[in-house]
Symmetry: D2
Subunit: 380 residues, 4 copies
């Protein structure tokens, strides 16, 4: 919920130094609503998905953020780390506490990989629903997960309980889920871009190419030399070109769409010298050239609130979805060629992370699917 | 108002090519509200202030955008030029039409300088209120205006009718205004930063320095070689260092705050290789060193919903206000020096343009001052 | 040649306003050299390829820039438009003059497309050699050229006289050429990246994919709204995805390498929010999986001074060639896949334009191939 | 020296994995020169000043880089860390070794602060000249140094032996120096910008303002969260506004220029979302309004090879000195004001660090002052 700025916030910065008070978003509308807000907790809130969850939840009328945890920053006000939240969030980070988390209706894990798998079981057992924004429950094949993430999975049984949180292919599953594995950012843009082609079975599934590009926020907020502005600024490059963790996730997703197709995707990610946004250019060989592909895409996504098919031949820009939960795409074909080209853009922190998590939350709790996700993108 | 995405929007891009229909934002809440939305028109909507007005008004529950004009792009859908508005705005640009504008409650001029002064009188005569986001009515001294803007002013009498739209010094005047001159972007950041010092009279007013820096969107959407990414990217420079139009506007504003002070401001603007944001670093010599300056600032802005004073010694970032209507500032002093330093940041398109215009509209029409302006900034 | 800064340059800016003197780079080394410098002219010097030619020729010991033309800026000092050349270039732009150009040994056309084809014949007839950095003589098929460039070709016979200036496939032809068609920037990066695969015939030539990305300087210095920093900054997108002029050029080049292969390339360009640099990621299906591809590439380019094959699995960065004439590349394959991936980077203004033109000049005039092109890239 | 690319470099990447060979730049010209190259060592070569020294020394005909040290990266080839040096540098980092350093004619310290002071004495004792690019010997007042750098100075006597390496005020001292303290980047741009005003004594020295802005490479190559592209990209802010280490260095430099003036400088640094470049805007109150300031500046710098005074009212761009050793500046005054405004730009890694170090080396060893520093800036 938006905490309306009031005089109480002003002039208090010095006072705060004395004794830190923690409280959630105020619930000014509750009396009018006639029903209670759900209480959400965020584990691992000092990264980009954490602050983005807070930004978006501040515009959501049905959720109270009850707590946000960080071992490293416990005690620090959230808006001291993220001054964009001054006036919007009065919380301080607190050390993880099982009892306090268990008192939530929903816990978001905005943690690094291999954290949520340690805590999810206990929360689920206490009836707390969980949305994991990390990769712990994305891959259904434990061996594949362990190979790509380099560690043993400590909750392999939960893998199969988890619902893959891509509403466009799993909406009903998400509605009833206790544990949602929020998809990876590249995986979201690429799976949605291929979706109608795969479902319709009109392309050669064995040589799919996905050339992905991401802004630097996709690399997280942790200090790493290659992600410095001095290193990644004013330059462009591939990374993980010999294999990236989202590769198996993408292939798994495409197989969900059409189990009969032996899909193989060559996925190469690139780092763009900017902060937010993913663009993926997809290439596939058409095996059926009679289909009206534009109609296929428009028809498939007609009822999807967060997929936008532009006119044939358009060029989606990442800025057109900056801050918004939309995946926007357009189709191209070049003269005399049987290759279909799809350009798909998302904001990696919104439809690629926090926004999709909130969309999933809305489905899980019966809110309107677009609640809290209505603000237009920031362009320019 | 936000036009909720529905299935009706999907798959229609081809149909649109046939017959363009124009209509405003739908008014889904009107029955519940029990009162009508105001009807707003935007003149000159193809620039950055135009698209930013549309973005912000899409989140405003009390306003219907009835029309948006552009001579050059008449007939083109707004969301074709600005795809970030797909699903949020069903309007097309139309040629300016006096009768249609006169049917509005309010008209925003998001035009280049020297356009609004030609049309404002007629609209005002018909009872339409006007907010001019250009510079036509900002300077009270006609001769100064004509010297800086290089043309004759065709409506000099309206200059004195116009209210300077900086709510923090002019709130009551704005409430009753028919014609508001929305302040310049630099002028907003710099006037607010100096405000408590000038009102309190604690600095030498004759040698004020304002070092301003702006992102490229401040230069508008018109094609100019120096504003190309290839020219302005990955570089930094001064411009208009021998005198900029906002200089006299700043001095006029400071004189309004304290008519007795002979203020003189040296203002040098710079171009930052980024899109949005203004930072101004202000320098003044203290004549009274006994005042608690932090308390002075916090007290002065305690009740201001859109000014945020950070703790002493903080470093405001432009990204902390990206997309938000806030002016955020902090104070510094260096050891052994009598110079007070103020760093003040705004989003040049929000508090520096469209957001402040909506704040002014809220005051003029009796809405809550923060209506439509509650979404947190986009960080990172 | 480098014009050494001396006292004569200082303090003269005011004097210059009076009478503009034009003179070429001084030739301080000539007495020691025992042979004359060649005289080069540049037609159309106000764009990025023009200024880049001047930057690189300033480091070349065998060439004197005799004149540089611009109809629009005639009379303006070159270093007034490009202050980076202050102290390096004492020329002013002059209107094109046939006699003065005919007195050169070599003329570079750094003009928009469809200009050089009007002037080249006369210069060639007078024994002046010509390097055209535009597209006028790149395509051997006149009809294809006219279809892509939208105008009639006025010198179709010269198309066949022109030598395509990619030294790595055409070195001996360039040595004897009077007219060189300097390759396009994308075409250079992509042709070099595919070269060993095509020559060796180890891939399926019918479904080649080239995903190209370029900095904004590739779009030139002319004012266009989509290339504004405010538009193209902090965003990423495809453009010309349904077909780009470099597509047929790339296919023509690949056919030169191996006339028997029915090559078809799907090429999609993208705009990166930065100034300089091209990265192309190439995808091809291997038909022969026994070849040691790393050895193939290293062997093919072993004697190429301006192609650098990195170790298998490396990730070339555009900044690693910023300002340098090198094309740097690396190979990748993903587990279990028959797709070979090549990432190839160049500086679009150097190996993609002015640097390659100088490399061609060096070949044409018998200079060392790397003369003037030895400075390392600017990293960071 | 430039190591000319030859076939020997190609195809060797795999071989290198076996046995790493270390050797310096080859000395192809030595026979012609008739005198030996000097041997230079670089201590701490993995940062930006280290790689920039290598880039510039590759273009210098009189210096052989004999070794480059890094404790952390010992054994790694330099061009593996910095691929821009592939083909230009065949060295590998080695652990610091006293004997090997003592065999050099000159050692550059490109280390963090508080490293060089531990090693300089031994090297000097062995006749090795030292240029310290860190801050260890910049401040003549030990107590001030210790206060700002937070540690005890272990070689206080060397402070007074060290010559402050700003050639424009210290050229003869540098010529005879054994130990040069290379100035800070901001300090260079700001001292040079104020120099003529201070020497001439025409401004009020007690209220000087220096508003400095730097690209991110000024923050070094060490991983720090605030310097991530995701944090510092597309944003602008002050830092260290309550006092920065270059403040006392600037004041000390100005006092050297005119010991009678009680100078006090308010210096506020800012972080620009770009990689290279510093701009400083300087403000001073004129006490003598009769001086022709443009003439004063042009006259003062007429014989300076690396200071360029632009015409009155020009706007220096940081890109105009990107990669070049020049400090470029211009003057402004606003109507009716007694404030003189100077905008001064440098490349923080060249005139602000490695380039100035080489300029100092040239002076110390009797080379031409501009040797190795002649390449024009990279624009765009």
């Amino acid at each position: 919920m938006v905490h309306t700025r009031g005089s109480s916030r002003r002039g208090t910065d010095r006072d705060r130094a004395g004794g830190m008070v923690q409280w959630g978003f105020t619930n000014a509308n509750a009396p009018e609503r006639g029903y209670a807000l759900i209480r959400a907790g965020i584990v691992g809130g000092t990264g980009y998905t954490g602050v983005e969850l807070l930004r978006l939840l501040a515009m959501h009328g049905d959720v109270e953020v009850a707590l946000i945890t960080s071992r490293a920053e416990a005690g620090m006000r959230v808006d001291e780390l993220f001054p964009s939240l001054r006036g919007h969030c009065d919380l301080a980070f607190e050390a993880p506490d099982d009892a306090r988390l268990a008192a939530c209706d929903l816990v978001f894990f905005a943690t690094p990989n291999a954290v949520a798998m340690h805590s999810a079981r206990d929360l689920l057992a206490k009836g707390v629903r969980v949305i994991d924004l990390s990769a712990d429950f994305r891959l259904q094949d434990q061996a594949v997960w362990e190979a790509w993430y380099g560690t043993e999975h400590v909750a392999p049984d939960l893998i199969h309980e988890a619902v893959y949180g891509l509403p466009e292919i799993n909406r009903s599953g998400i509605r009833g889920a206790q544990l949602v594995a929020n998809p990876g950012c590249y995986a979201t843009a690429i799976q949605l871009g291929f979706l109608p082609l795969i479902e319709a079975g009109v392309v050669d599934p064995s040589h799919l190419v996905a050339d992905g590009k991401s802004g630097a926020s996709g690399g997280g907020r942790q200090a790493k030399t290659p992600m410095l502005l001095g290193e990644a600024g004013e330059s462009f490059k591939t990374y993980a070109a010999s294999g990236h963790r989202h590769g198996p996730e993408i292939e798994q997703g495409l197989r969900l769409m059409n189990p009969d197709l032996p899909v193989q995707v060559t996925f190469v990610p690139h780092l763009i010298p900017m902060v937010r946004g993913i663009e993926a250019t997809l290439y596939a060989q058409l095996t059926d050239t009679t289909t009206d592909l534009q109609a296929l895409y428009e028809s498939r996504f007609r009822d999807e609130p967060f997929v936008d098919v532009m006119p044939w031949g358009a060029h989606p820009e990442t800025r057109s979805v900056r801050g918004e939960n939309t995946c926007r795409m357009a189709l191209h074909q070049q003269p005399g060629q049987s290759t279909i080209i799809v350009s798909s853009v998302i904001d990696n922190l919104v439809k690629g992370a926090a926004g999709q998590a909130i969309q999933n939350m809305n489905l899980m709790f019966g809110f309107e699917e677009g609640a809290g996700l209505q603000a237009p993108a920031l362009l320019p």
